[in-house]
């Protein structure tokens, strides 16, 4: 069983389809925090599900200027239909071909099930993983820990800024 990439690791870059004719690369988002949400599959049968929750609190993520990306092994057309049905306002990436390649790089692919773990990553402005978490597959992890990680990033940056200005002053 592979190990989930932990804080301090450089987030592996990837380029994945976000719509049938559009691709997105992680490196394009450099300069902003990124919340990477691996989830097992589109169309889970609960209504207040994980992506619906994140969709609902997008304004909170935007307060931290964070970009949120969903990733599963579903294909682009499946994502398109799912996104439309849930009225989603953030991109869903298709880790479809080769299947689960990005999930493998992040250490969150479930070989036996052919799906990704329910895993969360917060990546900082420089592309380094600041926080990561794997939830039990049946438990929707909610958003509280993501917001806390983003808050810590902001605080960390603020204190780093203070140190820098202190250096300049001396």
């Amino acid at each position: 069983m592979s190990q989930i990439l932990s804080a301090g690791t450089i987030a592996p870059d990837f380029t994945l389809a976000v719509t049938p004719d559009q691709k997105l690369s992680l490196r394009d988002l450099r300069g902003r925090p990124v919340v990477l949400v691996f989830y097992p599959a589109d169309w889970s049968p609960v209504c207040g599900d994980q992506v619906a929750l994140y969709n609902e609190i997008l304004p909170e993520f935007q307060k931290y200027k964070a970009e949120i990306l969903g990733i599963s092994v579903d294909g682009v057309w499946c994502h398109a239909a799912f996104g439309q049905s849930r009225n989603l306002h953030f991109p869903l990436l298709a880790d479809f071909e080769p299947k689960g390649a990005v999930a493998r790089k992040y250490g969150v692919y479930r070989e036996n099930d052919g799906i990704t773990e329910r895993a969360l990553f917060v990546i900082d402005e420089e592309g380094v993983i600041a926080w990561s978490y794997v939830s039990p597959i049946a438990v929707n992890p909610g958003a509280d820990d993501i917001l806390e990680a983003l808050e810590n990033l902001k605080k960390g940056k603020a204190s780093h800024g203070e140190v820098e200005s202190a250096h300049r002053a001396s």
């Binding site: 209504c47 207040g48 994980q50 619906a52 609902e56 909170e60 929707n140 992890p141 909610g142 917001l147």
Partner: protein, 178 residues
């Protein structure tokens, strides 16, 4: 384990004894079928546990998938200001299949409150800040969908059907301590 971060206060709608051994908090959405399903279960728990159980309901409308949920939450809060929160709460769930502005106005009139007043309140979003506050408190507490229940401050990850068992367990440890 996710913990309730927003303490229960005077702005909350709480039913039952303040000294009850178990407090159950629900974050719910009036347009969510799973919350509708849980509603009679909650009522039967209140009946079954009586004074031992206090129940608090907070709003968690998922507006992107449930277009009437926020309006319904605001209407329930409006009725709360008239002292009819629980009547409205029950009535909204019982009429979930035809949830819209007209239904909410009708339910308000049935409770003896002028539909016009509700209309104005909804138009001005008088109770939206309260609804949003509930929502954000829920997000910070690890609410991960609707309904989410907390028993004595801990998120309950089982099904609504299993809540009775969870309450029994807490009452058991409460008795052992006493």
């Amino acid at each position: 384990m996710a913990k309730l971060k927003a303490p229960i206060g005077p702005a909350d709608h709480a039913a039952g004894d303040e000294q009850a051994a178990v407090t159950m908090v629900e974050y719910g959405d009036y347009e969510c079928p799973h919350c509708r399903h849980a509603h009679p279960i909650v009522q039967s728990l209140q009946e079954r546990f009586g004074k031992q159980l206090r129940f608090v309901y907070r709003n968690f409308p998922l507006t992107q998938i449930h277009p009437h949920a926020e309006m319904a939450a605001e209407a329930a809060e409006f009725e709360g200001s008239k002292g009819h929160f629980w009547e409205m709460h029950d009535a909204i769930f019982e009429n979930q299949a035809r949830l819209d502005r007209a239904t909410l106005e009708e339910l308000a009139s049935d409770l003896g409150d002028p539909a016009d007043e509700l209309k104005t309140s909804l138009k001005n979003h008088e109770f939206l800040p309260k609804v949003k506050e509930d929502f954000m408190g829920g997000v910070r507490s690890g609410v991960n969908g609707t309904p989410t229940f907390f028993l004595n401050g801990e998120r309950f990850d089982g099904m609504a059907e299993d809540l009775g068992e969870g309450i029994e367990e807490l009452l058991g440890s409460h008795r052992r301590r006493a």
